[in-house]
Symmetry: none
Subunit: 261 residues, 2 copies
């Protein structure tokens, strides 16, 4: 894959590992691998996959994430797959009357992040399509990962479930506090002086077009117009563009003015 | 579907609508419908799907979400699909040098939630597999939805992208972070149709003023102008006001045009 020289490096996080327990369809394994790598996770574990492994169907769907598949660890017993884990989560929608903490994706990702920082090795189990994890599989977990699904339609596609969790991990990695209203711009914001020049230009031309009537409404109309443009948070380039717009719109009028005078 | 008597009722949210633009594979449409319903979203719009519609492949993959497919609205032009939208997001990974707010899923979901509460009709566009949305499709958006993907492996499966966004919507619905971005107004937001009429009016008049030169720059110039006004999130009153502004600025030109003719 070619990357622009100024592109940030790819992300490749060993932890948490994603553990697919008794997965059935190769396509779902491949799709899970792809979306793991989409969000920077690279450790895949398979427990007793139904079909032979390696699985060509998984490879087709994984697209560029073949490395995740190649490195996938395959075990036949869950306890082997979890051997080195120090924190185990079970993804399951159903409450099982077990005394375990239940975490949403955000909370799970934050806790896992903290655990990794402390040197832990977290593994998150996802059950097979349709059936999900069995009770004694869930019983091995330190905590339950539950997705906020529709009670009327809770059965998630396996890769979609992994997608949501992997996304939550990526958010936790970045640090949750992205600025609330952020705009990527090459151009610096317009200064107050540039905005004032723009507004004055616009208002003068609108005066000539008898826009501000009745006259006692003029201050309010001007204020509303200014508010609208201020809300757009113009760059200096845009302020210049808008002055060009006003010129282009009024260009024919110059002629008329000369006739008037 | 049978539900236990103590189960909460299914969730079925009309807004936001998910708009798949030029989707290719029926399987992906079905998978998107399924995961929408998993997280309580039911309004699907398709713009120019590659294959015939209804699509049996979509139905197989949608599993229990056939209702979402049956109710899906199909348009051949994006502007028709967005006609009634008052807030449009474009899901895209690539920065395009456009002056638009860029939101992560969480932020987008919070803003959309607040908008819905205020009576708005938000639509989120997802582009076709592999290629993604084109620049002039993105140009129609009020804001960009960007997922925090791995810079080394950014290309998400369509349904997984929808999954992450739909999940974020479910989180926003349940938990209430206060909306970071929203504007309380007595006047309803302008619809896409009103905005389109405004832009067309402005561009026609600017064409007459020979604003768009060199001609090969015209599409970019138009896109940048639209972006600036979209960012202001105009009310319908403001859209009308701006049309009045254009009329007032060009009023003298009518005379010149007659002289010309």
């Amino acid at each position: 894959m070619t990357r622009a020289p100024n592109m940030p490096p790819p992300i490749s996080e060993e932890w948490p590992a994603i553990c697919l327990v008794r997965p059935q369809m190769g396509e779902n394994i491949g799709a899970a691998a792809r979306v793991m790598l989409n969000f920077g996770l690279v450790s895949l574990r398979l427990v007793a996959p139904r079909d032979r492994w390696p699985n060509p169907k998984a490879e087709v769907v994984a697209v560029g994430a073949d490395e995740v598949l190649r490195r996938a660890r395959v075990d036949w017993r869950l306890e082997d797959a979890l051997m080195d884990a120090t924190l185990v989560l079970a993804a399951t929608a159903r409450p099982r009357g077990m005394e375990k903490p239940v975490w949403g994706p955000r909370q799970a990702a934050a806790n896992i992040r903290a655990a990794i920082t402390a040197g832990e090795r977290p593994v998150v189990m996802f059950g097979p399509e349709a059936a999900g994890l069995e009770s004694d599989e869930v019983a091995r977990a330190d905590a339950i990962l539950t997705l906020p699904v529709n009670p009327g339609f809770a059965s998630l596609n396996l890769a979609n479930a992994v997608a949501v969790f992997a996304y939550a991990c990526a958010e936790a990695r970045q640090g949750a506090d992205t600025p609330p209203w952020f705009r990527d711009s090459e151009s610096p914001p317009a200064t107050q002086a540039e905005l004032e020049a723009l507004f004055t230009h616009l208002e003068e031309e609108l005066d000539r077009g008898r826009f501000f009537h009745p006259p006692d409404k003029a201050p309010l109309m001007k204020r509303n117009l200014r508010a609208l443009f201020l809300r757009a948070r113009l760059t200096d380039q845009e302020a210049r563009t808008l002055r060009g717009v006003i010129k282009a719109l009024t260009i024919g009028r110059g002629g008329r003015k000369k006739q008037d005078g």
